[in-house]
């Protein structure tokens, strides 16, 4: 089954000191930048557009199209901002990528900056991952030393400067406009749109904001070309991507594969469920994507396939849960996360998550009341599509989908504590009873 994997970004992760410039150059690193310097900016944009690269941060918006929204006649400078604020529960692709292969991201930054005419780029890194910040800064320094960044990129006369900026620990700053506010030194809260960042983003100037993986995929497209890229993936979801497998699986980790692979295939690659375990439910792209069940094992994991199954591809963070897991408890934990991370700007998300947690807590304690499930669904209906940004929407996804597939467990919460039905010890990864590794 190993031939289903297409290691591009993860190629060389096992190399000796894979994160150094030297190691990256040995893998052919920065050749794409030289190629791109020979192209016009429009040609680079067209290349990425025609390749069909879609945003890897969750929404799947075509990257090249985003670049083409930058107005040509705006007197302000254009900025490139890379969203490396990876904080979604279950999502863990960008951080390993930046740890093992930071130069591919930096090369992507340089090429993307050339394409959109930005002389200044930023990578906004989640503040908690100090090790990543340090590694990126070291890589950035190396790139400057080699002339890949700076006032005169590889003698071309083109300038690309890069700042690695550490966030201060807020999930909301993964929302692109909140990220911009935070990057400007303000409190991170989402901005009203319009104006859209392409017109008035960072410092009210045209700004492109892309996910780490999207930008890191650009050098490969320049190297390999449209046809090579399109040879992977499905018709509308082209190329390779990182699938992050976690949970009750034998070999959790990053699996780089063409878009459209199924969970069944990925589970096989990951050695299957842990001993004695049966797949109960899973998230296709982090906790804010509606959960799926064993009946969705053969859903193609691309934007369209997962969408058709009633969820979203999101960040391809496949959290796998087995039969020992209480859905109610799991949803409560996720909801507690959203309550903690709600920025407070809008009423539905701020107050809704506060309330949802309290209802879920009593269901988890087995003290639920008649009508609590309807209450949860109605609250979710009053939050979804009513909140200021997608955080509030995301907070409702696990609840509504969990009730859809596991209503009986919520009903049980009226009488029985989840800990009784699903002893928490059994679902831990180190548990030996009920399931073994």
């Amino acid at each position: 089954m190993t031939d289903t994997l297409t290691p591009v970004l993860s190629r060389g992760w096992a190399d000796e000191r894979s994160w150094t410039r030297e190691a990256y150059e040995r893998r052919g690193g920065y050749e794409a930048l030289r190629t791109a310097l020979g192209m016009t900016p429009d040609d680079i944009v067209t290349l990425v557009k025609d390749a069909g690269l879609r945003g890897r941060g969750g929404a799947g918006f075509p990257t090249g199209m985003k670049w083409s929204f930058i107005p040509k006649d705006n007197p302000n400078p254009t900025y490139l901002v890379v969203n490396a604020d990876e904080s979604e529960p279950g999502t863990c692709k960008d951080i390993p990528l930046m740890m093992a292969n930071p130069h591919e991201l930096i090369e992507g930054v340089a090429i993307a900056s050339l394409a959109i005419g930005a002389e200044q780029a930023f990578i906004y890194v989640r503040g908690e991952v100090l090790h990543v910040v340090r590694r990126l800064r070291a890589a950035c320094r190396e790139a400057y030393e080699a002339g890949y960044l700076g006032a005169d990129v590889l003698g071309s006369g083109r300038r690309v400067d890069l700042v690695i900026h550490a966030g201060a620990g807020a999930y909301i700053c993964g929302e692109e406009t909140a990220l911009l506010d935070s990057l400007e030194g303000r409190r991170g809260q989402p901005r009203l749109r319009p104006p859209f960042p392409a017109v008035e983003g960072l410092y009210a100037s045209p700004t492109v904001i892309n996910n780490v993986e999207s930008i890191a995929s650009v050098p490969a497209i320049v190297r390999g070309g449209i046809e090579w890229f399109g040879s992977m993936g499905t018709e509308k979801s082209k190329g390779f991507t990182l699938y992050s497998l976690s949970g009750h699986v034998r070999r959790p980790g990053q699996y780089e594969a063409p878009l459209g692979i199924t969970l069944r295939e990925l589970l096989e690659l990951g050695g299957g469920m842990r001993e004695g375990a049966k797949l109960k439910f899973w998230t296709p792209g982090g906790s804010s994507t509606p959960i799926l069940t064993a009946e969705h094992l053969d859903v193609p994991l691309d934007y369209e396939g997962v969408g058709a199954a009633g969820s979203m591809l999101g960040t391809k963070a496949l959290q796998v849960f087995d039969q020992t897991t209480s859905v109610v408890r799991c949803v409560l934990r996720w909801t507690e996360f959203y309550k903690h991370e709600s920025c407070g700007k809008c009423t539905p998300c701020r107050e809704g998550t506060w309330w949802l947690v309290q209802v879920l807590q009593r269901l988890d304690r087995g003290e639920g009341r008649e009508g609590d499930i309807e209450l949860l669904l109605d609250l979710c209906d009053n939050i979804l599509g009513r909140s200021f940004c997608a955080l509030g929407d995301g907070a409702t996804s696990p609840i509504t989908s969990a009730i859809q597939y596991f209503r009986d467990e919520f009903e049980a919460g009226l009488t029985t504590p989840s800990a009784e039905l699903f002893p928490p010890a059994a679902s831990t990864l180190f548990a030996t009873e009920g399931a073994t590794r």
Binding site: A170, I172, R187, Q189, L192, K339, H340, E341, S342, C343, G344, K345, C346, T347, P348, R350, E351, G352, T353, W354, W355, Q358, V359, L375, D378, L379, D381, N382, I383, G385, R386, S387, F388
Partner: protein
């Protein structure tokens, strides 16, 4: 002239037609859906939305369904109508016709109440609360929330005056947006996140927080849609439904700001900003809001007082008795001077003028209870009276607004906010002719023309102003030789911005030695005859209608102190405001003084007859704002026996046997209309030459000074919480000027000295700035704007001034 200019510059309004709840409506392009709905009478519930603040879309209460965005496609989710501009062909369904919108609104309302304490029965806002009202109109009858609410310790003082009950806050960000966008004082901000999000103040150096010290802080209390923000002044004092509200006009500056005065059982409980888009929009200064207790102080005068010849004490007397004593004293005096002061209503001012001219037969009348000059009197007669060349709206439309001798943030808050609106919109450029860029000027993004006090004339001339510029001159220029002449000759559209509410009205009423009501020059026989005919009084044989210009305040006091005047009639004048307080005291001791006052003062202490008059709140009248707008108001409180100045003056006049011809405010107003404006020849504009450069010897400096909004003025008495929000009195000077002075500096004159902590600022060398009336009344040590004083290192005073922002 103004009207034509406006008509020429207004672009035609482009209309957009959309459909709201099946009703077609055309509104100006750019209108937000929530306001378009208002035009068809649909009130969409809202909290964060405020027409004068930038849209934020935070509360999500105003959600509507947009079934067609104008492009044939509907919007998939309900939209916040406070953030969506109208589009041609747009189809909007509000809660009235859309079940989706109705459910969304009900849902948001229920969520808003999740963490709201519902303590309406003990909340100051209860009864006038947008949350309470809209929860009734757009909410569920009963909440499904039975769980635990978020709580906070209460109240949290964001300043000495503004208190915050965080658990009531719905986090609409109106207060924080007001502070940042309107006032330019972003000292409060939302901090923390999720349901723990709250309004907070900065950490400050001590960690105790940097307080919300803004001159406009009180507006946040008024626009708070719940009871989260209260004032220390009003908290727990009254219920809205027990209050009687009366529209009125603020009496603390010349802005003519609309206010609402709320009283209960004969006592004013609070004041709020009125809504006047032409003047102050919906904002007022904290002085306008909180300073209404000055007339309720223990030193309030209630009965007429007459000085007992034997004991020398003032003793209570009947009104007829006091009026008779006053009349006898004035009759006997060899020359009477009239000092009405600058705080009068237009009607009272008119009465003083008629009293001086027609009853006493003198032109010795001058409202200027402050430093003044003959050049200024001529400027007021020629260039201010009857002139209306600038309006508030011009302040946000003009290309360039030049301030000379004027600090709007301190002296005319409504002007400051209007200018800020214009500069924030990127339309207006502000230039300030001043010693340094004050905090207010910084917030206006003003360009500084660094000017040594006294050199304003040259600075104005150098700017090369034209008709597209607006020039606002402050009353301080009276002591800067040639400055007002330069202003009059500048070619700019010009307005004089005095400090007091009655100043402009006094000019129109002719309370100047060379000016009669309606812009009539004293020296014009035609004007005198016209006035006399309108007044129906011609003067009697023993008090002939005066034909020569009279004396200024300074000249009258000088004359009185050396026997050149036998009596003075004094209105609301503070001795410490006068150009030379010691000469004034001497004069008041020596001559027969009739004082018309609200509260005991240095004048009443020295008066022979004290006649108590009504405070602003107890009488009707009108103020004339700096832009020449008449701002009428009715009495708020009906206090029997509280007589306006006009009634008291009429009483004295009748005792003298020469009636004014009117007794009430209404009659005075009618007579003023009959007098009307003068259309004949006017006083020519002054052409005084600029003075010589200020010469300072070693160790001497020139003083730049003005009164800060919050200071020791008596109009602010009885408001300790408000007073505590003032700015710390400091001395500002360049590092070169300060030399080896590091912490404190003393300025001194022959008369006295004053010590201030020092702050290094960007003043011209040889110039210092100090506040005029904060801790020390500069006039008392003979110091005014442009004075030369000695500067020396000073000792920190024993009692430290309260902590505040510099």
């Amino acid at each position: 002239m103004t009207l034509e200019a406006q008509a020429g510059t207004e672009a035609p309004v482009e209309l957009v037609t959309l459909t709201i709840d099946d009703v077609e409506v055309s509104v100006p392009k750019g209108t937000l859906v929530i306001r378009a709905a208002e035009l068809i009478g649909t009130d969409i519930p809202r909290f964060c939305d405020h027409p004068l603040l930038d849209p934020v879309g935070a509360c999500r209460q105003c959600l509507v369904e947009v079934t067609d965005a104008g492009n044939g496609r509907g919007m998939p989710k309900p939209q916040a109508s406070c953030t969506i501009p109208v589009a041609p062909g747009m189809v909007v369904r509000t809660h009235l016709t859309s079940p989706v919108a109705e459910k969304a609104q009900h849902g948001t309302m229920e969520l808003l109440l999740v963490n709201h304490p519902l303590d309406c029965p003990v909340c100051d806002k209860g009864g006038e609360c947008p949350l309470q009202n809209q929860a009734m109109s757009h909410g569920r009858a009963e909440s499904r929330f039975e769980e635990t609410k978020r709580t906070f310790p209460k109240p949290y003082p964001v300043s000495e005056q503004v208190l915050l009950d965080r658990e009531r806050c719905v986090l609409c960000a109106r207060c924080t947006r007001f502070s940042e966008q309107i006032a330019g004082d972003p000292f409060i901000a939302l901090v923390e996140r999720g349901a723990q999000q709250q309004v907070g103040i900065g950490p400050g150096l001590t960690g105790d927080g940097e307080p919300f010290h803004s001159y406009f802080a009180g507006n946040t209390i008024q626009i708070c849609p719940v009871g989260a923000l209260t004032s220390a002044d009003y908290r727990f004092r009254a219920r809205p439904f027990d209050l009687v509200s009366t529209p009125s006009v603020a009496e603390h500056d010349a802005c003519g700001s609309a206010i609402r005065v709320d009283h209960r059982r004969g006592k004013v409980m609070r004041r709020l900003a009125g809504d006047d888009p032409e003047v102050n929009e919906e904002w007022i200064t904290d002085k306008d809001r909180f300073c209404f207790t000055w007339s309720q102080q223990p030193d309030r005068l209630r009965t007429p007082l007459v000085r007992d010849a034997e004991t020398g004490e003032l003793v209570p007397t009947s009104w007829p008795g006091a009026l008779a004593v006053a009349a006898r004293g004035l009759q006997a005096a060899d020359g009477v001077g009239v000092l009405p002061g600058g705080r009068l209503t237009a009607e009272d001012a008119f009465a003083y003028g008629v009293f001086a001219r027609a009853v006493l037969g003198t032109n010795d009348v001058d409202f200027r209870a402050r430093a003044h000059s003959d050049e200024e009197a001529q400027f007021l007669a020629s260039t201010v009276a009857l002139h209306r060349d600038v309006t508030y709206a011009d302040l946000e439309r003009a290309d360039r607004v030049v301030l000379a001798g004027l600090e709007p943030e301190d002296e005319a808050g409504a002007i400051f906010l209007r200018l800020r609106k214009g500069t924030r919109a990127g339309r207006v450029q502000v230039v300030t002719i001043a010693s340094h860029l004050s905090r207010g000027s910084q917030k206006l993004g003003a360009t500084l023309v660094p000017t040594v006090p006294g050199a304003e004339a040259q600075a104005i001339a150098d700017l090369d102003l034209g008709p597209s510029d607006v020039l606002l001159v402050g009353e301080r220029l009276a002591t800067s030789p040639g400055a007002l002449s330069a202003a009059a000759a500048s070619g700019a559209r010009l307005a004089w911005v005095p400090r007091r509410a009655g100043d402009r009205g006094a000019v129109e009423a002719g309370l100047l030695p060379d000016l009669l009501p309606g812009g009539r020059p004293v020296t014009s026989a035609q004007a005198r005859a016209d006035l006399a005919a309108a007044l129906k009084v011609t003067g009697s044989s023993d008090a002939p209608w005066p034909t020569e210009p009279g004396r200024s305040v300074a000249a009258m006091l000088e004359a009185a102190s050396v026997g050149g005047l036998g009596a003075l009639v004094v209105g609301g004048v503070e001795v410490a405001d006068l150009p030379d307080p010691d000469v004034a005291r001497d004069a008041l001791e020596k001559v027969f003084v009739v004082s018309l006052e609200v509260r005991a003062s240095e004048v009443t202490e020295r008066a022979d007859v004290v006649l108590p008059v009504a405070a602003t709140v107890e009488k009707p009248g009108s103020f004339v704002s700096w832009d020449g707008r008449v701002r009428p108001f009715e009495a708020v409180l009906d206090v029997p026996g509280a007589l306006p100045d006009v009634r008291v003056l009429a009483g004295i006049a009748e005792e003298l046997g020469r009636p004014l011809g009117f007794r009430t405010v209404a009659e005075a107003a009618a007579r003023m209309r009959e007098v009307g404006p003068w259309d004949g020849e006017r006083t020519p504009a002054p052409t005084a030459a600029p003075g010589p450069d200020q010469r300072t010897a070693a160790g001497q400096v020139v003083v730049s000074t003005w009164r800060q909004l919050v200071d020791d003025g008596r109009g602010q008495d009885g408001q300790p919480a408000y007073r505590a929000t003032g700015r710390r009195p400091v001395l500002r000077a360049s590092a070169a000027t300060l030399g080896d002075v590091t912490s404190h500096a003393t300025i001194s004159t022959e008369i006295g000295s004053a010590t201030f902590p020092v702050v290094v600022d960007d003043l011209p060398d040889g110039v210092v700035w100090v506040p005029a009336n904060d801790g020390v009344t500069l006039r008392e040590i003979g110091v005014g704007h442009g004075s030369v004083v000695r500067l020396a290192p000073g000792e920190a005073p024993e009692a430290q001034v309260p902590e505040g922002d510099a």
